[in-house]
């Protein structure tokens, strides 16, 4: 297996520290993406960490309440990641839908069902995604 080289199995996540340092508001970004159901439940100024159950392992992690709702509720909606979005936006939404748990290009491909793992990997390593704080683990 290749060592020191990113592959379609390498994991990526959104670096929230980068957002802070850049003076950008990640919570605002997540709130803008929320579906109607979650927007009814929560407001932007509701800052709270909640218990989030991993949908594969059952592990409980602390997650921002907006991210928890986005990943568990909004992510089930077809509109959350729709094919009309630019690919980079779809990839970003896929990371939010995973609750910002590190995802590989192959896992993102399985979620968004667009392009291919190799194309998605290229996008993950692109300057655009770097600007959005997407970084390899």
């Amino acid at each position: 297996m290749p060592v020191g080289r990113l592959t379609t199995k390498s994991k990526f996540y959104i670096d929230l520290h980068y957002w802070e340092q850049s003076g950008r508001n990640f919570r605002q970004e997540v709130y803008d993406a929320l579906c109607g159901e979650c927007k009814q439940m929560y407001s932007l100024d509701q800052v709270q960490m909640v218990d989030h159950v991993d949908p594969e392992t059952g592990e409980v992690k602390q997650l921002d309440v907006l991210l928890d709702c986005a990943s568990d509720v909004c992510a089930q909606s077809a509109d959350f990641i729709n094919p009309k979005m630019p690919l980079t936006r779809s990839i970003f939404r896929a990371l939010i839908a995973a609750g910002n748990t590190p995802q590989s290009a192959e896992e993102i491909f399985a979620r968004i069902k667009r392009a291919s793992p190799n194309v998605i990997l290229k996008e993950l390593m692109s300057p655009k995604m770097e600007e959005d704080g997407v970084t390899p683990l």
């Binding site: 159950v53 059952g58 309440v65």
Partner: protein, 519 residues
């Protein structure tokens, strides 16, 4: 074998962990490994994994599911985390206004790490659907599993490894690409020159010695693998060795007749008959080594072979690759370069062409010794690898003999007799000399020989009768029809025995029934 085990191995597929194990094994081994060895690694690891899983399950640890009500001190096995085991060390209430309250249990693992997991969580979750069944992967020993499923696992593993650039394959063996010995174009140029100079197929080991590659100790197998791999991928070189024993030659020196079966050596269509031959014809057939398109290797020991030369082989300078001839050489699954040695010690390079069922390369030898269809030939084994002896029985030419000759008139095969010198011992019934080679070549190129065997025999039979006898021997008809198309003796004898157009008069002789003659 238990049904759980059958289910497991019948539904088996290679996963990433299997590939990682194989990679680690090959990295540690440092040299090429056979597919069988890699399959055994995978089977042993899976069986061990299952055994360990069973041991853990049997020691009162419970398979973790979020719906379980958890208690401090409870031991859990996490199937979604490679079956690791942990112990609940604390339990608290959940904090998520969106969800019905559930437990959050702190689990401590053997390495001291702590992680939290949901309990009393009865919302839909894939782990809540799990049924903790034992897979059966370890019901039998790895040897028993390999005996039954080894071939399938090898196939699946090979298919998976072929998709991964880290693995290279050569003749059923695998090596990590990073471990290949570098064989640059300079080495290959030297190999090309060596083969051309020797004009024989050279084994990989022989070439490695010419190239002075490192063959010491552990490096030897990797070096040979790497050289084979490089030669295979350079179109200058072709493997002309027996099955499993590469011998390298130059593509540009291989005669065209080895890659493309010449028309005169292409078998004609022969109908299949259910009935065996009458005993008389079986006896006659057993006296000649049949040139038969269905011949396969039958495991017989190498022994002297007596052949009668037929026209197609005389014309092209070839021999039929009969069962007896096959036994003289190792098994070939592609063109194989061998040597035939005549009584003067002349070494004749010859090509076994399994697909065409012939050995090519004897034209000059036939011409030099003035051989013709009907000549008696003998092949014999020789201790040297890929070598056999070839002999004919010389005859003082003396007075010319009146022999049958084959010629072409108005696009049809016909026969006559003529005095000719004959310098070799021959089969009386099968001796027919080609009279008009240009005409015969045009006949071969035409569709004359594409007619049914019955039609050809009916056309040829009266032409032979014109020579003075109404009854014709089966061997004569066999030799004659081969001037039109290459056909085996069994096919000819079967056609004679089963067609209403011909009637036997005993002793292998037939007469033509004019009324029943095919159209």
């Amino acid at each position: 074998m238990s049904s759980a085990s059958e289910t497991y191995w019948n539904n088996f597929s290679i996963n990433d962990k299997d590939v990682e194990r194989v990679y680690a094994y090959m990295l540690e081994r440092g040299e090429a490994a056979r597919s069988a060895d890699l399959a055994r690694i995978v089977i042993a690891a899976r069986a061990k994994e299952e055994q360990e899983r069973r041991q853990r399950l049997s020691t009162q640890a419970v398979l973790y599911q979020p719906k379980l009500v958890l208690e401090v001190g409870q031991r859990l096995i996490f199937s979604a985390l490679n079956e690791i085991e942990g112990t609940v060390t604390a339990v608290r209430d959940s904090n998520n206004p969106r969800l019905k309250p559930f437990q959050v249990a702190t689990v401590t693992f053997a390495d001291g790490t702590k992680r939290e997991f949901a309990g009393a969580y009865d919302l839909p979750h894939p782990l809540n659907e799990l049924k903790p069944i034992v897979t059966g992967a370890a019901d039998e020993s790895p040897e028993e599993i390999y005996a039954r499923y080894g071939a399938k696992i090898e196939r699946l593993l090979a298919a998976r490894l072929r998709m991964d650039r880290e693995f290279v394959e050569q003749d059923g063996k695998w090596l990590l690409r990073g471990l290949l010995t570098e064989i640059n174009v300079g080495f290959l140029n030297i190999a090309e020159a060596a083969i051309e100079q020797n004009n024989v197929g050279m084994s990989t080991l022989e070439l490695a010695r010419v190239l002075e590659l490192d063959l010491e100790g552990a490096k030897r197998e990797t070096t040979l693998f790497s050289l084979d791999y490089a030669l295979q991928r350079d179109e200058r070189f072709v493997d002309v060795g027996p099955v499993g024993e590469p011998r390298w030659y130059l593509n540009r020196l291989v005669p065209a007749e080895v890659w493309n079966v010449p028309r005169v050596l292409q078998f004609g269509a022969a109908p299949l008959y259910d009935k065996t031959l009458p005993p008389e014809l079986e006896t006659i057939l057993s006296e000649i080594e049949d040139d038969n398109n269905d011949d396969v290797r039958d495991g017989r020991a190498a022994a002297k072979v007596d052949l009668v030369l037929t026209y197609p082989h005389r014309r092209m300078g070839s021999l039929p690759y009969t069962q007896g001839v096959r036994a003289l050489f190792p098994e070939a699954d592609k063109p194989m370069l061998v040597t035939l040695l005549d009584e003067y010690g002349t070494r004749i390079p010859a090509w076994v062409v399994p697909d065409g069922n012939y050995i090519f390369g004897l034209k000059a030898w036939y011409d030099r010794n003035k051989l013709n269809p009907g000549a008696l030939l003998e092949l014999a084994p020789r201790g040297e690898p890929l070598t056999a002896e070839i002999r004919y029985q010389p005859r003082r030419e003396g007075k010319s003999l009146w022999v049958k000759i084959a010629k072409v008139e108005n696009g049809h095969l016909t026969f006559g007799t003529s005095p000719r010198p004959v310098a070799f011992k021959y089969d009386e019934e099968m001796l027919i000399l080609p009279e008009d080679q240009t005409g015969l070549d045009k006949l071969t190129a035409s569709n004359y020989g594409d007619r049914s065997l019955d039609a050809l025999l009916a056309d040829i039979f009266p032409e032979l009768v014109k020579l003075g006898s109404s009854s014709i021997h089966a061997k004569t008809l066999y030799s004659a029809v081969n001037f039109a198309k290459r056909v085996g003796a069994r096919a000819v004898f079967s056609a004679l025995a089963n067609s209403e157009a011909f009637t036997t008069t005993g002793g292998g002789y037939f007469v033509l029934q004019m009324a029943a003659r095919p159209a």
